[in-house]
Symmetry: C2
DNA sequence: AGCAGCTTATACCGATCAGTATAACAAAAA
DNA sequence: TTTTTGTTATACTGATCGGTATAAGCTGCT
């Protein structure tokens, strides 16, 4: 090898993720990505191949950095009831602090995903499945420990929680304000109350 | 006046609505609209003015024909508990029968809406408010009649129902299948059980 | 020194975008 | 019959799209 890349690929990917996150795949143009990353057109294509490949890498980075780590941290608490409660508290905080109204990259892609390929759909489907799994495990462990009532169906309630989380993030992009989002979050938390 | 329009404006609007519904505003091209409506380019612009104006008319038509009439029919039942139950049953049926995965035009636009103007946002916000209002009124009337428990907060539960309805329609566009949608619908119905 | 490989800027490709212009045509009203 | 008005097909505008090509410059290895 003769030379190392002189721009930071990770930084460029981080910037690309922000662009796709806020604009979506279709609305984000190569020009947007070039301006935001500061990387030359040719270098971008040399490093990532295509717009779609860059999108996939961006989505995977988001999935890794946000979805995965968020759930892992909450699950590491080893306090299932509180983990669920904290999840929705943090979700509303994130949404309210999201002044750009970007929403959640994963949830945004659910809607855009129908026009994407199988690879993107698989990433999204896996992300949703793992969020649902997080809720389910919280409920199950909570039931074992007697924190959560036994008559609650973990699978059903986990699906309802995922649905409410999605709605909070989608409605939080502009249609609903903080007070309404808090109401929905409270309803989500009350599922295991 | 010298001559009447020789193409049916309502039919063209119906077709346009279908195009915007399935593709969204950005992804729907004028060429798509011309092909689908069968109306000439010039005539389309003469009749509707612009792509955005045609989108607004399409969204209003959807709001009138689907959202408004669906809620009105259910409310006319004058059986609040059943109306809510039927709402979610019909929602899942619509979603499952929606083999094109178009989803709900109104909910789809919630996500796309951030990049739209105030007019579109107002239509969407009004639609959401009326759906929520439908749920709230059903609960309130149900409580007056003793069908629904008094300790249920109509406003909060109505918001939760709207959120779950949105999620069903969004997830139904490909991420979730019928069985999972039925689970979420059952959870929505169980709110007043 | 010279090669290799990545950088940059810039220009270009064909395609598509929303929207406009033009001209021939058709039908109803004057 | 002439005027009016909306129809059609077609061509065009300028802009942007994703992606490629090219040429000159920079850096590190041999």
């Amino acid at each position: 090898m003769s030379w190392e890349k002189s721009f930071d690929v990770d930084t460029a990917l981080e910037k690309s993720m922000q662009v796709f996150w806020s604009k979506g795949f279709e609305s984000a143009s190569i020009t947007n990505l070039i301006e935001e990353t500061g990387v030359n057109r040719g270098s971008l294509y040399n490093a990532f191949g295509s717009k779609r490949a860059l999108f996939v890498k961006s989505l995977l980075k988001y999935d890794q950095e946000y979805r995965k780590t968020t759930l892992a941290k909450l699950e590491a608490l080893d306090q299932p009831s509180q983990a669920i409660s904290r999840f929705f508290d943090d979700l509303v905080i994130s949404t309210v602090e999201d002044t750009e109204h970007k929403g959640c990259f994963l949830f945004n892609t659910v809607l855009e995903a129908q026009q994407h390929d199988a690879e993107v759909n698989a990433i999204v489907a896996n992300g949703l499945r793992e969020i649902e799994g997080f809720f389910r495990r919280c409920i199950e462990v909570g039931q074992v420990r007697g924190e959560i009532r036994q008559d609650i169906q973990p699978e059903s309630k986990a699906k309802a929680m995922l649905a409410l989380a999605l709605a909070i993030r989608v409605l939080g992009r502009g249609a609903y304000h903080e007070s309404a989002l808090n109401v929905i979050a409270a309803e989500a938390k009350s599922i295991i109350a």
